[in-house]
Symmetry: C2
Subunit: 233 residues, 2 copies
DNA sequence: AAATTGTACTTTGTATACAAAATTCATTGT
DNA sequence: ACAATGAATTTTGTATACAAAGTACAATTT
């Protein structure tokens, strides 16, 4: 009895969204490399669908800035240059500061509690020395702040900007020398928000991004140095 | 002689981009109203193309937030609520402040000259009392600042956010009582940038948005009051 | 009269077909 | 040996075809 109600109504996503998510992930993890061409028939065969959903997914990736279109030639994975990353970080710096300021005004008691917990859990995560675990704890901490702003547009923009740095995220996480300052910055941000000290919260959020920027820029220079070394294929 | 070189290579946009621009404009000008359904065959017939470019254009509008998709029902023009506009303005406030700060650091002598000219031209435009002329002069002024940041991502984000307020833009422009304060704010922003006074520039940019917000929110409340008055069709 | 069922119609989701442009590479002529 | 030409191939751009889901509305039952 009650069998009818137990039916799994598992939300069938349109193929274009499945393809979109798949390609997006492949680009962000570096499985599809910058400059690589996205050929429709090839992708269609590989994913077992027709060209139509592939094309629609590419249109969305295009607007998100993950692929660029070359007229009459098709799509390729967008190059990430040092300049484009600096541009992204410059904007994120301002928006992260906005986030913590808004959080000071709008965070709920429940969210404050969660934030404190996330703060502790981040500190504990660094002890595992497992980059994946640490990165997850870091994201969890920041997500609570972003959500606490109650501004959906801001949430969306921060997510999109984070996306661009996804591949480099691990670099500053892996550097164990930085762990203590990361923990300290998180603690200051948490305390400033709870204490409604917007200025201090914002200043620390900016510092937090500046530190990430240093790691990421170092990393990208390394990569590009390597590329310059090897022959064009 | 030289005929070959004179050929107009007039950049044939793919139909999807033509459709995208057409629909985008129709939504922004209010020709397509919030809640209105975008039916593919109908649009295809109206624009004289097949469904394929229509669908691809809709995918882009979807990611830009101008339309929302309802599963198995298709696209409709996104509703603009007071909350969503406040969210947009909250972000724009921070990004406009960032713009003028960056402009202080990076504006070129040539751009400084253009900005001074655009400042004067805005003052002169208000005398015409023609909202279109004034709006154009306003956009020209702000465009110079945004471009002066040299941050392409920032340019793109500001443009996208401006889009959401397009329909309400005229309201604060039309209000003649505000013209003097608008001119004054532009002048202060110009002078602060030239004088490299980031703090004053940013403060005025925020004030500038706050004033717009008041006009726009007043306007949207008026509209929604009207809608509540008439029967649902 | 109200609720329900069933049928015709619309609309989307996906696949395929065809045309036009771009690219590749071998062939030809010098 | 080298440049130019052109056919074959690849790939995109656009249109159309077909299936599945959703919607509207009339007919039927209670």
């Amino acid at each position: 009895m009650g069998d009818y109600y137990d039916m799994k109504m598992d939300e069938v996503l349109p193929l274009r969204d499945v393809v979109f998510n798949t390609l997006r992930k492949a680009i962000l993890t570096g499985e599809l490399k910058p400059g690589e061409r996205l050929m429709e028939i090839h992708l269609a065969n590989r994913l077992g669908v027709s060209r139509t959903p592939i094309r629609e997914a590419i249109r969305k990736l295009e607007l998100e800035g993950l692929v660029i279109m070359i007229p009459r030639r098709g799509a390729e994975v967008a190059q990430i240059t040092e300049k484009s990353l600096k541009d992204v970080l410059e904007v994120r710096r301002a928006l992260d500061a906005l986030c913590v300021e808004l959080a000071c005004d709008r965070i709920s008691p429940e969210e404050e509690r969660q934030l404190g917990k996330a703060c502790d859990e981040f500190a504990r995560a660094t002890e595992t020395k497992d980059a994946t675990v640490i990165a997850k704890a870091d994201v969890a901490f920041h997500d609570i702040i972003v959500q606490a702003t109650g501004n959906q547009r801001l949430v969306q923009l921060i997510n999109n900007l984070s996306e661009q740095m996804y591949r480099y995220r691990f670099e500053y996480i892996k550097d164990e020398n930085q762990h203590d300052s990361l923990i300290e910055e998180h603690r200051i941000i948490y305390e400033s928000i709870v204490g409604r000290d917007k200025e201090r919260a914002a200043e620390t959020a900016r510092l937090h991004i500046d530190n990430q920027e240093k790691s990421i820029i170092r990393q990208i220079r390394l990569e590009q140095g390597q590329q310059a070394g090897k022959k064009r294929q």
